[in-house]
Amino acid sequence: MTGKERLAALFDSANSQGRAVFMPYLTVGLPDPESSVAMFTAMAEAGADAFEVGFPYSDPLMDGPTIHEAGLAAIQAGTTVAVGFDLVAQIAATTGKPVIVMTYVNPVLAVGIETFVDRLVEAGACALIVSDIAVGETQEITAACSLRGIGYVQFVAPTTGTDRLREIVATDPVFVYGIAELGVTGERRQGSSNLTTLAATLRAVSEVPLVFGVGISNPEQAAAAAAVGDGVIVGSALVRRVLESNTPEDAVTALRSAVKAFASAMTR
C-alpha cells in the first residue's frame, strides 16, 4: 500500500466507527533527538491515529510562539534535516502509525524536491504538508509526491473562496487541512466559529477528507471539530506540554494524559 492509500484507509475505518481521526502534531527532535521517538510512542499508546511530524524551521511564518520556540530548541539540540528523516523512520517503524511530515518550503528546496520526497518514501512517511505555500506554488512538489505514492495535503482557510477551493481539490490532496481559525498556530481560549461553514463549503465541491487544525487547544474544541470534520490536528497544546516538562519522562507522562483526553473526544 502506498502512503496515500494507508491514510485513505485510516479515514475510512475511523468513519465507519463513527469517529474522527486524531493526528497530534509534534516537532521532531524535541526535547532532543535521543528522546524524540519516545514522545511519539507515548502518543501512539494513548490513542493517536497518525502523526504530524514537524520539521523544525528557523523562521516558521505560520507558527505562533510555542511551535517557534520548539523548533529553535530542536535545531539547537542537533535536529538537522538528516536527523529528522532518521527519526521519522524510527517513529514510523516503532509506532506503526501513518506519519505525515510537516515542513516549510525552504528546507525542501535546499535538499531538492525529488530528493526530499525520496527520503520521505525511504523513511516510511505517508504524506507531506508544506505550511507556507499554497496552490500556485505546489505543482512541482505535488507531482514529485504523486509519482512516489506520497500523499500531499493542501490547506483551506476561512478566506478561501469557492473558485479557489475547486482549484485546491483538483490537485487531488490526500486530505484538506482546514484552518479552523484565521491566524498562526497557538492555543485559543475561544473555540472556532468557522468549522461548520468551512465543512459545508468544502462538502459542496468535494468528498476529500477534511482535517481541522490551528488553534484547537482542548478536548471540547476538538470534539466540536470532530463533529463536522474527518480528523483533528492538535499542535501547540501538546508541544507546550513538552516544553514545560523538566525531563523527557515528565514530557511522556504529560503527553500521554493529554492525548488520551483528545483521542476520546473524537467519537461523534
Partner: protein
C-alpha cells in the same frame, strides 16, 4: 525605458513567486487587482503625484558634491532622498500603499521596520489618511534607532517590540506576516522594501521607480541638465532605494552598483550580503538570494546599519545579479562608519548609515572611478543614527 513586469507566477526570471500560506493568497490576489486598477487610473496618479509634490517635496534635488568629488577624483552627484519628508525614500512607497489600502476598504495597516524609517513613513502616511497603524520592530533595533521609535509613537502608531531571533529586521518581517495572517480581512501589510511574495516586489518597485525616473530628467546630459551618469550607486537592504533608482536606467549602459553590508567582513559570516555571498532560497515569500545553511535554515544577518541587517534581498535584484544587469558589492561596518564621518565633514550632510555604505564604496573605489560621473542615491538622512554612532565611538569624533 524598461517597463517589464514579473510573469504570471510573479517571477523575475527564476526569482520571486508567491510562496505564501493559503490564508494570505486571497489578500495577495486582491492587492494585485487593486494595484492594477489604481495604476492605470489617472485619478490615482493625480492624487499620489499631488502628495509627492506638496507633502513629500518631490522631485528631490540632485546635488553636485564638490568636495567629495575632489576627494574621489570623480564627479559625484547625490540624489537627495534624504530631503524627502520623513527623511528617506521610504515615504514614496508608503503613500502609494496607504492609498491602495483606502481603495481596498481596509482601515488598518501593519508594517515591519528595521532602521525605523519605513515605520515612520508608514505611520506618517497612516496619520495623513486616518488609518490605524501597527509597526513591528526588533528589540535590538528599538534600542539603536530610539529616535524613530518616538517619532512613530508621536504619529499615532503602535510600535510592538519583537524579541525573537536576533531581534532585528528579519524577525520584524516575520512577526508582521504573522499579524497579517491573523487580521488579513481588515488589515493591509505595507511591506517596506522590494521583498515578500508577489505582488509586493513589483508594487514597491513601481512606487519607488520615481527616484530613477526623476534622475533621468535631472541628469539627461541635455543642455540645462546635469551630465549623464556613468555609475549609479545605492545601498541594498531589501533593495527598494536601489531598485527605485536602478530600474529606469536598466540596459541604458550605466553601471548600476548595489552596495550590501559586509558587517564584520564577509569571511566572518556576520554580514548582510545576500547577493554577494548568499545562495538562492525562499525567504519571506519569494525565491531570492539569501543567507542560509545547507538545510535551508535562515542564517542571522549582521550590520551596524539596521536597514541593511537582513539575510535576503528583493527577487528582482537576484534577477539583475544573475543577468548582469547590475552588480553587487559589499562594504564593512568599519568602512561605512568611516564614510559616515568623512561625508558629514566634507559635504555638510549627515547620511543615514545605510546610505553611508554607498558613500563608502565610492571612497574605496576612487581609483577605478577616476574621471567618471557617479551618482550616489542618498537614501536617507542620518539623524536617527547619531546617538548610536556617538555611543559606539565616543563623543570626541562625533
Amino acid at each position: 525605458m524598461t517597463d517589464y513586469r514579473p510573469d504570471t507566477s510573479g517571477r523575475f526570471g527564476e526569482f520571486g513567486g508567491q510562496f505564501a500560506p493559503e490564508t494570505l493568497i486571497p489578500a495577495l490576489q486582491e492587492l494585485e487587482a487593486a494595484f492594477e486598477v489604481a495604476w492605470s487610473d489617472p485619478g490615482f496618479h493625480a492624487e499620489l503625484d499631488a502628495l509627492y509634490a506638496s507633502f513629500v517635496g518631490r522631485p528631490t534635488p540632485v546635488y553636485h558634491a564638490k568636495r567629495l568629488s575632489q576627494r574621489v577624483g570623480a564627479e559625484v552627484y547625490l540624489k537627495r532622498e534624504d530631503l524627502a519628508h520623513t527623511g528617506a525614500h521610504k515615504i514614496n512607497n508608503t503613500l502609494g500603499q496607504a492609498l491602495l489600502t483606502q481603495r481596498m476598504g481596509k482601515s488598518r495597516v501593519v508594517a515591519e521596520t528595521g532602521a525605523g524609517q519605513h515605520g515612520v513613513a508608514t505611520a506618517t502616511a497612516s496619520a495623513l489618511l486616518g488609518l490605524e497603524c501597527v509597526v513591528y520592530m526588533g528589540a535590538k533595533d528599538i534600542e539603536r534607532q530610539a529616535l524613530n521609535v518616538y517619532r512613530m509613537r508621536l504619529l499615532g502608531a503602535e510600535v510592538i517590540a519583537v524579541h525573537k531571533g536576533a531581534a532585528t529586521l528579519k524577525d520584524a518581517v516575520s512577526e508582521a506576516f504573522r499579524y497579517w495572517v491573523s487580521s488579513v480581512e481588515s488589515t493591509h501589510y505595507i511591506i517596506g522594501s522590494v521583498v515578500g511574495p508577489h505582488p509586493f516586489p513589483f508594487i514597491v518597485r513601481e512606487f519607488q521607480k520615481i527616484i530613477g525616473t526623476e534622475l533621468r530628467q535631472q541628469m539627461s546630459g541635455e543642455p540645462g541638465s546635469f551630465p549623464r551618469p556613468d555609475v549609479i550607486v545605492a545601498s541594498v537592504g531589501g533593495g527598494s532605494n536601489a531598485m527605485g533608482i536602478f530600474f529606469p536606467w536598466v540596459r541604458s549602459g550605466v553601471d548600476l552598483v548595489g552596495v550590501e553590508a559586509a558587517g564584520h567582513g564577509l569571511e566572518s559570516g556576520a554580514h548582510g550580503a545576500s547577493l554577494v555571498a548568499g545562495t538562492p532560497g525562499v525567504l519571506h515569500g519569494s525565491r531570492t538570494y539569501m543567507l542560509q545553511d545547507r538545510d535551508g535554515q535562515v542564517i542571522e544577518a549582521h550590520s551596524v546599519s539596521a536597514g541593511l541587517d537582513y539575510p535576503g534581498s528583493g527577487p528582482e535584484h537576484s534577477y539583475f545579479r544573475d543577468e548582469g544587469l547590475a552588480r553587487y558589492v559589499a562594504v564593512t561596518d568599519v568602512e561605512a562608519l568611516s564614510a559616515f564621518h568623512e561625508f558629514s565633514r566634507l559635504e555638510g550632510i549627515i547620511p543615514a548609515l545605510e546610505s553611508a555604505h554607498a558613500v563608502a564604496w565610492v571612497l574605496r573605489e576612487a581609483a577605478s572611478l577616476k574621471g567618471k560621473t557617479v551618482v550616489i542615491n542618498l537614501s536617507g538622512r542620518g539623524d536617527k543614527d547619531v546617538q548610536q554612532v556617538a555611543a559606539m565611538q565616543g563623543d570626541e569624533d562625533a
